[in-house]
């Protein structure tokens, strides 16, 4: 006898109750953490990163910039965010007071720190960069995220256990340059970022301009000397 629509609906609700992690984020059964970037939030299936779930974001392509901005937005809204910098690539240039910054010395320490932070229940968003959880590690972190209720975003290409997969790419022809008098590129002003978000039953694209923060080289001869460029003599 063929199943009726009511049977399917009841089966679905039973499955959602028994296996809440298996429920697609498109069903909006979980709360979300808005990234604070309206274009991105519109492209994400539940309007943000799902709480208590693992989301993965493919490294590079402006991922750090977007996730860092999301951390600041969450902190500004009165919640906590943490960034686990496994490869120690962040510079002071790219970090301002706000989220908790963890620089673990080993990969194992990074995973342990992530688990403790997630289980504490005090963070809305935890970003892992430079450490890719694999196999049972991803399972364990997913469980910790569910217990603590934080949205976990891992900068990795491995998408196992993830509810949401996001990738972004910088458009090589999308840079806006301040040019020299000779017409050569001098300082990059902004760049076009294309973001693609995928989940079960969801595939969305968006694109927006991201400014490039210029890194000012200090041209003084000695470290101890003051940099007097621009000072009126």
């Amino acid at each position: 006898m063929p199943a009726t629509a009511a049977d399917l609906s009841s089966l679905r609700s039973i499955l959602e109750q028994r296996f809440p992690d298996a429920t697609p984020v498109t069903h909006r059964t979980t709360d979300q953490v808005a990234s604070g970037i309206s274009q991105l939030d519109r492209a994400l299936p539940s309007g943000g990163f799902p709480r208590g779930r693992l989301s993965v974001w493919a490294p590079l392509g402006g991922a750090t910039a977007i996730l860092r901005a999301a951390c600041y937005a969450i902190t500004a809204a009165g919640e906590r965010a943490a960034w686990i910098d496994g490869e120690h690539t962040l510079t002071s240039h790219s970090w301002i007071d706000g989220p908790a910054l963890i620089k673990p010395t080993t990969r194992r320490n990074a995973l342990r720190a992530a688990e403790e932070i997630l289980r504490s229940g005090g963070f809305a968003l935890v970003v892992m960069s430079g450490t890719e959880p694999v196999g049972s590690e991803a399972v364990r972190l997913t469980r910790a995220a569910r217990e603590g209720g934080a949205a976990l975003v891992s900068l990795t290409s491995a998408s196992a256990m993830s509810s949401l997969r996001v990738s972004s790419q910088l458009d090589p022809r999308g840079y806006t340059w301040h040019r020299t008098p000779f017409g050569e590129p001098a300082v990059a002003h902004d760049v076009l970022v294309r973001v693609r978000a995928r989940a079960m039953g969801w595939n969305a694209h968006t694109q927006f301009l991201v400014p490039v923060l210029h890194h000012e080289l200090r041209l003084s001869l000695e470290p101890g000397l003051a940099d007097r460029r621009g000072v009126r003599r």
Binding site: A65, R80, T89, S92, G98, L101, P104, P211, P223
Partner: protein, 449 residues
Amino acid sequence: MSYVCLWSPAWPIGAAFDADLAPALLACAPRVVVGDDNRIWIDARGLHAAQLAEQLLTVVRAHGVPHVRAGTALTPIAAECAAAHSPSTLTVVKPGTDREFIAPFLVSVLEPDLHLAELLEGLGIDTVGRFAALDAESIELRLGLDGVRLWSRARAEDDRWFFNTPLRALPSASLEWMEYALRDSERLLFVINSLLASVCTALVAQGERAREISIVFSLAGKTQYTHTLRSSRPTADQKRWLRLVRDALDQLTLPDAVMGIALSVDAITGNDGAQGDLFDRGFASADAVEIMLADLEDDQGDAVVAPSSTAHPLPERRTRWVAESPAHYLSRGMRGASLPLSARPSTTPELTLQLLSQPQAIVVDTATRRDHEVPVRYRDDDGWHDLVDVAGPDRVSGGEWESAFAREYFKCVREDGMLVWMFVAKDGRVTQPTDGAKDHWWFLQGWWD
């Protein structure tokens, strides 16, 4: 403040005293004090004094106390006179008329001591009103300081306060030693830990939490050095205070050896919970986060860090990451919502520089652009990458007195859109293996992401 004074010429004492009287009075008003000379004082602040006095009279009479009288007034002396020296059972002194009310009474109602009473009699002052009419200078000249106090009371300026709650001494502990002097922080920490144990135990016993604790170091030079610790959240947890002490001792430089330590709690709060911030959505989890960060610190050392920037020209030497204590993180981490908009970090995404821990050697093909060479493609561990845009060079050099450096930096856009930062070392002193016979060495320093 208003007072109710109950007076009876003969309160029952001993076996005649009804044990239920005190609870019955306390049921009417929360603060009741037994005073001298058969008086009972009731704090009527916030209550209707006249109704309260009637209620108290009913209660007292129901417990078999005869001839009880009550008086209510804004000052104790007026309430006292109304109860003990007025003929009616209940006298309510109208607010603002206390001085006029007590003026007709004899000065004996002020209860001067024998010496003052004789002086007043000698001066011919018989009523409170006549005494109050004198000026302060003449009173001070003739009757001294006690006379001035009595004169103030005659003017219904009565500063007696019956309902003081006794100040409880805050927990403290100390230890001194004579035979030796301590300098190393580990031994000091050992001593402070034992002192903290007794202080925290006392706090827990009193149901209080410390917000500030002072450590007073008695130094060998017979001087003292005081350091105050402040917890972001009031706590009686010994482990948490010890962590703060450890942080402080790491940064503290004592001018001399230590021969004694005293620990005292400076500020406390009750266990009724800390005041929350309306915009602090993480307030409820602050304790859990602090404990977690402390555990992380114990487990991994200085894992939670904050940048400390210098002005070094070389990017890889510019930033030093310093440990951030859990208390410091909590004190600054949640204030985002309470900062003015202009002071908040930008929530607009920006590509920022990411650095490799060490510059990575790469092979670069260059082309001539006007008077200099610029990279057109490079090879790293992932193979060759073509470059579609190149900005630079930005030249930086220095370090002649330590380790000299001279670099030319290029910002390059790869064909996949990644903006990378590479430099060519020009000083010839970089101890990096070269690729072939190139006289310039190229390195990848970082990228924008």
